[in-house]
């Protein structure tokens, strides 16, 4: 029953997964551009954001129409609301990738400290993993997978703090200082990408349990009811 | 097919037309003001009219209606509103049989019951006519009662009102038109029924009579009696009386149709 409605939902979800795959590519591209100081690649990543935006807008447009015409309830309603939220998180993630790409072009031509670069590699990989886990958990309706994102995020947060530490050790040289500043912002961007991945996990949990709760909250160290 | 149906219809209409026309032609001559206002003339005397027979018929029919109407309506109410199926069906059959009973049989029955040992009387006539009218009124009432949608009954029951109140306040008022129709048709039928009258009120009088405990002059008997007389003037009067009866039936039928249409409008159909 309601096959056309189900098809609409399926299209919405698959568009979302496509968008997620694009975000992953954008992140990999931004990280590579940063590491290899490849300005052309950075420009590609920035231009690539249009593809993500297109999917984002498509979903944004489809949802009000679906809500009005089909009046989804129960699981269907929660799915549509979750897709709406995940869509936002993906778009924000893509924006952060663009930030990283832009910054990678602005970074001064100096030899980056090895430990910093390795740190970013680690953070980047972790974020990639988190995005994958988040998207897969959503697709597979896997609650455990969604909840595991919290622990992964903890690793990203720690890596972020280490990166800040490394930057502080860079010294007072003006080029170094500028370099360090850019790196902090990049580190922050990666950390935010991780947070958004956790948010996607929370949406999965909402879809499955009909309860929205934050896995962790900045102001409260332990999970609580929303 | 259409041609065949048309021919059949024309035949039926034609028969009625023939009856109406021949009666009119033969009786029109005797129609006059005197005809309607003078009582029957003594034998051998010219002139005279059917006034007393008219009044007599009117009285008899009135009496019969007074007997038949309440019984007929209440019977129909019982059958449609209260009777369980296993009682309703046999009673319906009885009513149908009664409707089909030859009126002469009814006449003889009433004769045996009320006239032998007593005299002919208006009551006896009224009773016989009432028996004839009863199934007609009951059936007409039943038909309109069945027309009342069950949703009306449901709605009034859901208000917490007693059954008989519902019948009185909601159902019967919507059926008044139909009941009147049935009554008018029954009257038309009864007014012209000769056979029972021959047994119960076969007098021939020269003046207006209104004593209901005795036999009353009436039109059917007048027609019958005059038709057996040698005087052609009386024959003409008989035809005229028949014309009057016929006109009455015609007017009554049209009135009945009008009443039914009005009652349908009120019910919102």
């Amino acid at each position: 029953m309601r096959t056309s409605f189900q098809e609409e939902l399926d299209v919405l979800e698959s568009t979302l997964q496509e968008e997620g795959a694009l975000v992953l590519r954008a992140l990999r591209g931004a990280l590579n551009a940063l590491e290899q100081r490849d300005h052309e690649l950075a420009d590609e990543v920035i231009a690539f954001d249009d593809d993500v935006d297109r999917r984002y807008l498509e979903i944004e447009d489809r949802i009000p129409s679906l809500l009005a015409r089909q009046t989804p309830v129960a699981t269907d309603l929660r799915l549509v609301l979750a897709i709406l939220h995940v869509n936002l998180h993906l778009e924000r993630m893509a924006d952060y990738c663009v930030t990283i790409a832009k910054l990678s072009k602005l970074v001064p031509e100096i030899d980056p400290p090895v430990r910093l670069i390795e740190g970013f590699e680690e953070m980047g990989s972790r974020c990639e993993e988190m995005i994958r886990v988040a998207l897969d958990s959503f697709r597979d309706r896997n609650l455990d997978g969604a909840e595991s994102l919290v622990d992964l995020d903890e690793l990203v947060d720690r890596a972020n703090r280490r990166a800040v530490q490394h930057v502080l050790e860079l010294g007072a040289d003006p080029d170094m200082r500028e370099y360090g500043l850019r790196m902090v912002v990049i580190s922050r961007a990666l950390e935010r990408i991780g947070d958004h991945a956790v948010d996607i996990g929370e949406q999965t949990a909402y879809l499955l349990t009909a309860e929205f709760r934050e896995f962790t909250d900045a102001s409260h160290p332990t999970p609580r009811e929303a | 097919m259409e041609a065949l149906a048309t021919v059949a219809t024309l035949l039926a209409v034609g028969v009625l037309a023939i009856v109406v026309i021949s009666v009119s032609l033969r009786g029109a001559g005797a129609l006059s003001w005197d005809f309607f206002t003078q009582p029957q003339a003594l034998f051998g005397q010219p002139g005279g009219g059917i006034a007393n027979a008219l009044i007599g018929t009117a009285l008899l029919v009135l009496l019969a209606t007074a007997m038949a109407l309440p019984v007929g309506v209440l019977t129909a109410v019982y059958l449609t509103e209260f009777a369980p199926k296993r009682i309703r069906v046999p009673i319906q059959v009885v009513l149908d049989v009664l409707a089909g009973l030859p009126t002469i049989v009814i006449g003889i029955f009433v004769y045996a019951l009320l006239v032998i040992g007593h005299t002919q009387s208006g009551y006896a006539v009224a009773f016989a006519l009432a028996v004839i009218m009863l199934p007609l009124i009951a059936r007409a009432t039943q038909e309109v009662l069945l027309l009342v949608p069950s949703t009306l009954r449901e709605a009034s029951l859901a208000l917490g009102v007693r059954r008989w109140r519902i019948v009185l306040g909601v159902i019967l008022p919507s059926t008044v038109g139909g009941i009147l129709t049935g009554t008018v048709l029954a009257i038309a039928r009864a007014a012209g029924d000769t056979a029972p009258l021959l047994f119960t009120s076969s007098i021939f009088a020269n003046s207006v009579q209104t004593d209901v405990t005795k036999a009353l002059p009436n039109i059917p008997v007048l027609i019958f009696t005059y038709s057996e007389q040698p005087d052609p003037a009386l024959h003409e009067q008989a035809w005229a009386a028949a014309l009057v009866l016929m006109a009455f039936v015609l007017i009554a039928s049209l009135a009945a149709k009008g009443l039914l249409a009005q009652s349908r409008r009120r019910l919102g159909r």
């Binding site: 409605f5 699981t75 | 949703t151 009306l152 859901a158 208000l159 917490g160 109140r165 008022p173």
Partner: protein, 281 residues
């Protein structure tokens, strides 16, 4: 599995809507083990739930699941169906509705009913509303009573200048509101509405739904509807009935009964989920 229903959410929701303090909401009906059969056909089987005062309770479910049968037990209209057998218990304010001394006519005065198709009497608008009170002995201040009923039914302004006109001259939506006025004129406590808006256009339907929100201040309402969205819009509590097929026997059962929000955002039973999302085959 019959009723999946807990006390806590019902009272919480009720309190939240009312904004009332910690007052326990009174149960007007307490139904247990209700089974209704016509001859060899079982219409509903082992139904148990409570109906709460001054709330709108909706009964939804696919056709043939016994919704109308259920609601007609509450005012003993099923008595009028030959061969109907009612087992189980229906307590109305603690008293057995089907006890031997109970007069069904009196029951119906206290528990009124509005039907799917508007069925005003072929009388004037005034008489439609006044007839019930008149024959039931409520003759005092009849004019005020009629006006009050018509106002409560949101019809007064539209008909106050033509009270003597035939009720059948009103539009479908107005006729239905007239039937509501007629029902409340005899001062019932409960109003049962059997698909009251299914024969009406969207604007008239909306008017009836608005009216129900007003009416629940003074009355307890139970509404049967095949329009889920209507139940979602209007009802505080929703009972979902479904057909249970047991071999060759089919009967209606109560699957889930809970706050309307819960039924439409996160129902407990999969059958409910399937029905409200329209996946019901």
């Amino acid at each position: 599995m019959t009723a999946v229903f807990t006390m806590a959410p019902v009272i919480d929701v009720a309190q939240a809507r009312r904004g009332a303090g910690p007052v326990q909401r009174e149960a007007v009906f307490d139904i247990q083990g209700l089974t209704v059969s016509y001859g060899r056909l079982t219409a509903v089987s082992d139904v148990g739930l409570e109906i709460y005062r001054n709330l709108i309770t909706a009964v939804i479910g696919p056709s043939g699941c016994g919704k109308s049968t259920f609601i007609r037990c509450l005012n003993r209209m099923n008595d009028l169906v030959p061969g109907a057998r009612v087992e189980g218990q229906i307590l109305y304010h603690g008293g057995d509705l089907y006890a031997s001394g109970i007069d069904p006519v009196e029951v119906r005065r206290r528990i009124g009913m509005v039907f799917q198709k508007a069925n005003p009497f072929p009388k004037s608008i005034y008489d439609n509303v006044a007839w019930g009170p008149r024959v039931l002995g409520m003759k005092k201040d009849l004019d005020e009573r009629v006006e009050r009923a018509l106002r409560d039914a949101a019809l007064w302004e539209e008909v106050k200048d033509r009270l003597k006109k035939n009720a059948l001259s009103l539009s479908g939506g107005q006729q239905q509101r007239l039937c509501i006025a007629r029902a409340i004129a005899v001062e019932p406590e409960v109003l049962l509405l059997d698909e009251p808006a299914s024969a009406l256009d969207p604007i008239a339907t909306s008017a009836i739904e608005e009216l129900m929100h007003e009416l629940k201040r003074d009355y307890t309402l139970v509404i049967v509807t095949h329009n889920m969205q209507q139940a979602a819009r209007v009802a505080d509590l929703t009972a979902f009935f479904s057909l249970e097929v047991d071999g060759a026997r089919r009967s209606g059962v109560l699957v889930e009964y809970d706050a309307t929000e819960k039924i439409f955002t996160n129902p407990t039973d999969k059958r409910t989920e399937d029905y409200v999302t329209g996946r019901f085959g």
